[in-house]
Symmetry: C2
């Protein structure tokens, strides 16, 4: 009988509810704080978000049904495949007992996991009569996903794109525009937040924190407009749990249980997507998997940040949340994994890390690209630079098991393809890629 490599689910077996981690957190989530420093209730979010998303943000229901209209759109690219990385295993010389599996989200129309929440957010906004949404984007993954969702549901999308990416990655901008979105380079002159930054630093190349401020301001000052965030918030992490729930079913098809589940972390929603369903599975006594969040050493929020209340954006437009943070005005070094350049993380993820339920590790980008190329030349798929962080640690975990003579089943989330990131690979191929190290306050030369 031939060996199984690819585990696909029928659309009829796709999970029909999202998994909500809130009721299962080891300690209750601390409330967000308003401008006066006092806790705010869900109603404070009403100018920015539709009521259904606000309800999800604070819901204590373990499962939240996915509306049929969202399922219908999910079915244009989901369930996504789960693969055994047989050729990579062979190239690494792994023994029989050490296995690597990956869930692949790059098959979505945006080439990443981001549409899982973009589609949901667009749908719930449309249901409440909202026809315009603003958002921010770094390298453009999130903006592309929301642009697609906007096109599908007939919603105008206005994107504030971090200026360095706007200039360096025109293709992502064109992609958003092709779906009908309007894209501005951030900081822009369109908002107080943007103008304020430009006054201090006319050459500012922007940051996710600044772009969030601009997008929030535009939504807050336009009555018929809402705002959408691509990570961090509870409801965003919620929507991504479709990934991990599918993975559980597919790993069952593979008759394997992961010993370790790995994902990269920017704001945390990608990692939440693959890991939270396994966290619950562990609580059920069905799994012993370690859950490992991987972040860049240039922006090591979980491993080097302070656990304290902080704003989600540069201009303090958002509520404060209890997070691991490097400071709301922190501008990370220009690593190529633009989606991992956020100063803080999802409060639910921070809670789980703080309670030792989830491990965090930080890695350098050159080592990640090395792993990405090794993966590409074995499995075919060229990974997004963000996803390469998960690959690095997946390979390291597998090799450690090999060295220790132990069995281990590794599962990681390959959150996207790298077809928009070839300039990063060009730098890696040319040997000109540089590592940045937050801890030493400077970059270190690659070895």
């Amino acid at each position: 009988m031939p060996e199984r490599t690819r585990f696909v689910l029928d659309e009829r077996d796709m999970p029909t509810a999202w998994y909500n981690v809130l009721p299962d957190l080891p300690t209750p989530l601390d409330p967000p704080l308003g401008p006066d420093g006092n806790p705010i209730g869900p109603e404070a979010l009403a100018p920015l978000f539709p009521m259904e998303l606000i309800k999800q943000e604070v819901s204590t229901d373990r499962y939240i049904d996915i509306p049929g209209a969202i399922i219908d759109v999910y079915k244009t690219y989901r369930p996504s495949p789960l693969q055994r990385a047989r050729q990579l295993e062979k190239n690494l010389g792994l023994p029989e007992g050490v296995k690597i599996f990956y869930k692949y989200e790059g098959v979505s129309p945006a080439g990443s996991h981001k549409p899982n929440t973009a589609i949901a957010q667009a749908y719930f906004n449309k249901q409440e009569g909202i026809n315009k949404i603003s958002t921010e984007t770094g390298a453009g993954q999130w903006g592309s996903a929301l642009a697609i969702a906007g096109a599908l549901f007939g919603i105008e999308i206005e994107v504030f794109m971090v200026k360095v990416s706007f200039n360096q990655k025109p293709y992502r901008r064109i992609l958003m525009e092709t779906y009908g979105a309007t894209v501005h380079a951030s900081p822009s002159n369109l908002t107080n937040a943007g103008r304020h930054v430009l006054e201090r630093d006319p050459d500012s190349t922007g940051s996710l924190g600044i772009a969030i401020s601009e997008a929030v301001e535009v939504a807050a000052t336009n009555e018929d407009m809402h705002y959408s965030l691509g990570s961090v918030l509870n409801h965003v992490c919620l929507h991504q749990t479709i990934v991990g729930q599918e993975a559980i079913l597919q790993m069952e098809m593979a008759e394997a249980e992961p010993d370790v589940v790995i994902g990269c972390v920017g704001g945390g929603s990608n990692f939440a997507g693959i890991s939270y369903p396994y966290y619950y599975r562990r609580k059920q006594g069905l799994s012993n998997a370690r859950l490992v969040a991987v972040e860049p050493k240039a922006c090591p929020t979980l491993t080097a940040g302070d656990y304290r209340y902080d704003w989600g954006d540069e201009a303090k437009m958002t509520p404060q949340m209890l997070m691991y943070t490097l400071g709301h005005d922190f501008v990370p070094a220009g690593i190529h994994a633009g989606g991992l350049r956020y100063h803080a993380d999802a409060p639910t993820l921070c809670n789980l890390v703080h309670n030792d339920e989830i491990e965090a590790v930080a890695v350098h980008q050159v080592a990640c690209f090395e792993a990405a190329v090794q993966f590409a030349r074995a499995e075919g798929i060229l990974p997004a630079p963000e996803s390469s962080h998960a690959i690095r640690v997946a390979i390291d975990e597998a090799l450690a098991a090999k060295d220790a003579g132990e069995d281990k089943t590794v599962l990681f989330n390959l959150s996207g393809h790298g077809h928009f990131d070839l300039s990063a690979y060009e730098a890696y191929n040319a040997g000109t890629l540089i590592d940045y190290d937050f801890a030493s306050g400077t970059h270190v030369e690659e070895d």
Copy 2:
């Protein structure tokens, strides 16, 4: 019961043999001719191709088993999904009885159907001890696919890339290099064929015909090197039939039979992939599907070419084959669908068109991009410019059925995603895209 949208096959249900159209052609295929104008036998191809591929080139077996090692690599991205385009149907206002399905090959690591044959060709070369392969590529789809296959099987790949694409599409070049391939701009100074072109026209931007000459010359003059072609030849069309065979199984899952099967045509292998298995199904009396090959009006080989013997390349390095051709030295206008800029077509396809078994139609690129954007905003996926030709005709076929009040089930092959073609979409978005018309000998302004 929810409506079905996505039809996925388990890896264990993937076809295990390729379908070979040769024994089922309405008239025998005319033999290729050598330099002296006389028919050549398979042995003449031995300097360029491994014996297994030469056997496939002339085999009269209807089915040829796919070796397990190729199946194993196919399983890293196959079976590919088949989707019902429900949102597109809705946006087009189609009645109940008019349905659009598409097979999606953009999920492969190269983002197109090309790995289906690249993997097979690399495997059979490796089996015969070949460790170096040369090839040509236009926009880079084929070169990327062979670079990936080379990485997987440990074969050095040398690619001659049409200069205009080499300069305009650096990302495809970087992609090939990341997989370990060497890429030259063609015409180059590395070959007699290239030097000859450059002497006449130092500013030549190249063509597929010239690049083929260079790649063939390099392989022919290096004893340990073989050559690989991404389309046209019988064995290439053969390998692509995995696509149509999967589609037949998936359409059965959908309980639907196509009335028309549509694919774009450059060299013909993509179209062969989706249509030849349906051609055989028609011969079996199981299908009445019309088979429609779509080509660009800028390079309308099947609709405006002569049916005669011609060379496959500019410098007459290849044998002559009986094809529809615009002339081996024809350099098509710079349409964005680089993969459709070939002066002739697969001899098997030409045979079937000549015998009225397959229809051919030519379309303008602006109308194709219009269809592509309409598709993207409905189904999410941004199509490759090549694939947009199939979408244009699929939409036209569906609308014609709607207007006529007839039922019709349309199936087309979405051969690749457009994530490497954003500059083309930028031109379309800006309204600066121009149509080129071979018939009038000049370009016509877009309307």
